[in-house]
């Protein structure tokens, strides 16, 4: 039995002994602390562990009510019994009102022990109750502090308890819920359809748990995890269900996000254009589906290999594959491109070229290498073919240029740049019109643009200007380039320089014309000769029939004279058409020229000088000297005529040459042999292109009517051609003209004999 610790405030020792007796008598084990003064009382209250306090009501310096007051201030809830000798009814009631547990009269101390017992019991009960209350408050707090919603529902589906979270979530106060049925709160429909079965399940002693999205008034649509815990208040039967409703929206969302991100990376990994390999300790630990496709191995087969096993041993650059692998550490530490143009082999022994990037990372203390293998075989092939194409275009003799849609050059090939005399750098960015002469008609450009705008190809001849303002004639083909969408993005110009070609064509046309005229003239000459012969014959007959003193004799003589002139003219025409009898012999050109100029000198006006420059190596030609003489005289006469007003110098030069390619392209009949070139350069009036083109045509003359027959140069032309030579004129109006005659040289042996004969002559 526990020792009862008693504090007794009493001034009389006798009374104390008496109380001891009563207590001992009743067999109570106790420890009694006896104090007499207020001071001792307070000290005892403060220091001792006490179960009960006994106090005398009236003390010399102190009284029981004051002691009660002090006690209540220092110790709560301790039984306090007043023991008094005399005590009126009123005092007793006041003491009890003040908190005393009981009062016992000294005269009736037999009541003391039962009073103590009852007081102790009551105190014990009160303490127990207080403890329970405090506990309940703690649980209350815990339950209400939780963010989870808790409800307690009985078997009648009525709310018996809810926590703050629940009230807050539904914007309700507790009283609006407690005592209400679920039906009342959620409506009959929801209750029957969704709510009831979970409760029923729980009432059958099952824990029910599910997740669902539903709307709560305070927070909107949220995701919850709802758990039904069966609750047994007493015995083994389920009396209630505790519903725990936990908001897991954020958790759910985080999980969802994680799942999504994982799925995304998985997708990236599997569907990347690159084969991705993860390697640890030289063995592949993970690979994506592209890797399986790339290499043709199954995933399982790949996992037993390393990157090195997939590389072709000798790489395209001649190095060993293992050398590349050894660079792994260095490259991955920086993270980046491990190598380009590596050659890999597939299961079927085929190879492919790829770029490889690598990265390394640490996981649980182990180093992993990640390889991204990008197949560039197709790209490399395409690049190769593109390169070839570009090279071909660059090497092409055709002139190729590309302009943007506005007509600015974006590409020209070498041939084109060379022809236009620009560097590529100079021409890129220039506008197409900058290489067209101003004379190119707007109509041509308009027509070209119209055709191109119609997505069609324009072709035609164009004049273009080089950087040094050289005009060229090109045959052009301009095609629009379209994008996939069908829009025109640029234009391709393919040009061919036909300047020379057109010159040759013009020359051939001219030659043909001369040939035709020659044939025609020859035919006419034939008929003329018959007529002249007839006239001559008859005139001769008539002259024989009459005497000189006859009046018609002189007339007939005039006819005869005119017929002579007609004969000469026809002979000229025949010479032009190369149909006269000639007597070719070896002729020294220089001597012939000297002779002719001597002859001319007599009649040349004072303001005109003739200069002669003959190259020593120039030898002889095979020709009729009289014809050649006619040629020289004719050209010189023309030159002098051109300078008759202004005066000037006629330079006559000769040299020997072998025709250049350029000359030959202009005059296709020239051969690869030695020619003598004679140039007659005057400083006269010159002539325009239109005139220069026609000067060798018969009957073409610029001289006033009556001054020339128009046959001179055509005859010269005929003679030169009949000698296998060529004649051409270059002229600038106002500056003068230069006539060049090319005549085939005598072959070497003949040349020698000619010069020997010459020597002999000198000696003779």
């Amino acid at each position: 039995m526990k020792t009862l610790r008693i504090l007794y405030l009493e001034d009389t020792d006798y009374d104390v002994d008496l109380v001891r007796e009563y207590l001992e008598e009743d067999g109570i084990v106790f420890d009694l602390i006896h104090v007499k003064t207020k001071e001792d009382f307070i000290n005892a209250l403060k220091e001792e562990e006490l179960d009960i306090i006994l106090a005398d009501f009236s003390l010399p310096s102190f009284d029981g009510l004051e002691a009660l007051d002090i006690t209540q201030q220092l110790i709560s809830d301790i039984p306090f019994i007043i023991i008094s000798g005399v005590m009126g009814e009123e005092l007793a009631i006041e003491a009890l009102k003040s908190g005393a547990t009981d009062y016992v009269l000294k005269q009736r101390l037999s009541r003391l022990v039962p009073s103590i017992s009852r007081a102790l019991l009551e105190a014990n009960e009160r303490a127990t109750r207080l403890k329970a209350e405090s506990e309940r408050q703690k649980y209350d707090f815990i339950v209400n502090a939780s963010k989870s919603m808790f409800t307690l529902v009985d078997r009648n589906y009525t709310y018996e308890a809810v926590n703050d979270a629940f009230c807050k979530a539904h914007n309700l106060v507790r009283d609006q819920i407690i005592g209400k049925s679920l039906k009342e709160v959620w409506g009959e429909d929801s209750f029957d359809k969704y709510i009831k079965k979970n409760f029923d399940d729980s009432f059958r002693n099952n824990v029910v748990r599910y997740q669902a999205w539903f709307e709560v008034p305070s927070r909107g649509l949220r995701c919850f995890e709802v758990t039904f815990y069966p609750y047994k208040e007493t015995g083994d039967d389920v009396t209630h269900t505790v519903v725990d409703t936990m908001d897991i929206t954020d958790k759910q969302k985080a999980e969802e996000a994680m799942r999504e991100s994982e799925a995304k990376y998985r997708l990236l990994f599997d569907h990347a254009a690159e084969a991705i390999l993860l390697e640890k300790d030289g063995l592949i630990t993970t690979c994506n589906t592209r890797a399986v496709e790339y290499f043709g191995y199954t995933k399982q087969q790949l996992l037993s290999k390393g990157l090195l096993d997939l590389l072709v041993k000798i790489q395209p650059d001649g190095s060993d594959a293992s050398k590349h692998a050894s660079e792994l550490e260095a490259v991955t530490s920086k993270g980046g491109l491990l190598g380009t143009n590596w050659e890999f082999k597939k299961k079927n022994k085929r190879t492919f070229i790829a770029d490889v990037s690598a990265a390394s990372f640490q996981l649980k203390g182990e180093t992993f290498y990640q390889f991204f293998i990008h197949d560039i075989t197709e790209k490399a092939k395409a690049e190769e073919s593109l390169k070839r194409l570009a090279e071909a275009m660059e090497q092409s003799v055709e002139l190729v240029a590309v302009t943007d849609i506005k007509g600015h050059f974006v590409y020209v090939n070498k041939a084109c740049a060379d022809k236009l005399e620009y560097s590529k750098k100079e021409i890129i960015g220039k506008h197409i019109t900058q290489i067209l002469p101003p004379a190119v008609s707007k109509e041509t450009l308009y027509q070209m643009n119209a055709v191109l705008a119609d997505h069609k190809v324009w072709s035609g001849d164009l004049d273009i200007l080089s950087k040094r303002k050289q005009q060229l004639l090109v045959s052009a083909r301009v095609s629009p380039i379209r994008s996939k969408e069908g829009d025109i993005t640029s234009y391709v110009y393919v040009l061919r320089d036909i300047t020379e070609e057109s010159k040759i064509k013009a020359y051939l046309r001219q030659a043909q014309k001369m040939e035709t005229i020659g044939t025609l003239a020859g035919g006419i000459a034939h008929d003329f000769n018959n007529i002249i012969a007839t006239i001559t014959g008859h005139t001769d007959i008539a002259l024989q029939d009459i005497k000189p003193d006859n009046p018609v004799y002189e007339d007939l003589e005039q006819i005869a004279k005119a017929t002579e002139r007609a004969k000469g003219l026809v002979n000229q025409i025949l010479t032009f058409s190369r149909q006269v009898e000639t007597k070719p012999e070896e002729v020294r050109i220089d001597m012939l020229i000297t002779e002719a100029t001597k002859l001319l000198a007599a009649s040349v006006p004072k303001n005109i000088r003739i200069k002669q420059g003959m190259a020593a190596e120039c030898g002889g030609v095979m020709a009729d000297p009289s014809q050649l003489h006619q040629v020289i005289m004719n050209i010189c006469t023309n030159a002098i005529y051109a300078m008759k007003d202004s005066g000037g110098i006629l330079h006559i030069r000769s040299k020997s040459l072998v025709p250049t390619q350029r000359l030959k392209s202009r005059f296709p009949e020239l051969e690869d042999k030695q020619y003598i070139s004679l140039t007659f350069k005057d400083t006269g009036t010159g002539m325009d292109d239109a005139t220069a083109e026609r000067i060798f045509e018969p009957f073409f003359t610029t001289k006033p009517v009556g001054e020339g027959t128009g046959l001179g140069l055509s005859v010269v032309h005929g003679i030169v051609k009949s000698l296998g030579g060529e004649i051409f004129a270059e002229s600038t109006p106002g500056k003068g003209s230069t006539f060049t005659i090319l005549l085939p040289c005598l072959e070497e042996e003949k040349q020698k004999s000619l010069s020997n004969a010459d020597h002999t002559d000198h000696r003779g």
Partner: protein, 131 residues
């Protein structure tokens, strides 16, 4: 009287030649084409044939060739007017085939008559024509 056959397609010229020779007391036969000449030659053999080289149906070259085969003693003078081809070439060929003289139109009538007489005299004196 010595007879001369003129083969010439130009009528005016042929008439002039005929008149010229008649004045020198020759008998003149005229043919406008080579074919016509051959028809005449079937019936009559002249002392001399004067032929134009270029004629429409049978050219003078053919005529000379034919004559020399059938009547090698007949004297021949070829005349060419030049034209479509180099007349000198034809005259050259004519000479090779056996024409005694060749003339290029228009020609000197005096020189022409001289040569005609020269050939006729050779014949009269009984000598062969020159090779």
């Amino acid at each position: 009287m010595p007879t001369i056959l003129i083969i010439e397609d130009d009528t005016d010229l042929r008439r002039m030649l005929a008149k010229l020779l008649q004045r020198e007391d020759f008998r003149v036969l005229e043919a406008g084409t080579g074919l016509e000449a051959l028809q005449i030659l079937d019936y009559y053999i002249p002392d001399m044939v004067i032929t134009d080289i270029i004629m429409p149906d049978q050219d003078g070259i053919g005529t000379i060739n034919e004559l020399k085969k059938v009547y090698p003693e007949v004297k021949i003078i070829a005349i060419s007017g030049g034209g479509r081809m180099l007349s000198k070439d034809y005259l050259e060929i004519a000479k090779i085939l056996g024409a005694h003289y060749t003339f290029s139109k228009p020609f000197d009538t005096r020189l022409f008559l001289e040569k005609v007489h020269e050939l006729m005299n050779l014949q009269e004196s009984g000598n062969n024509h020159p090779q």
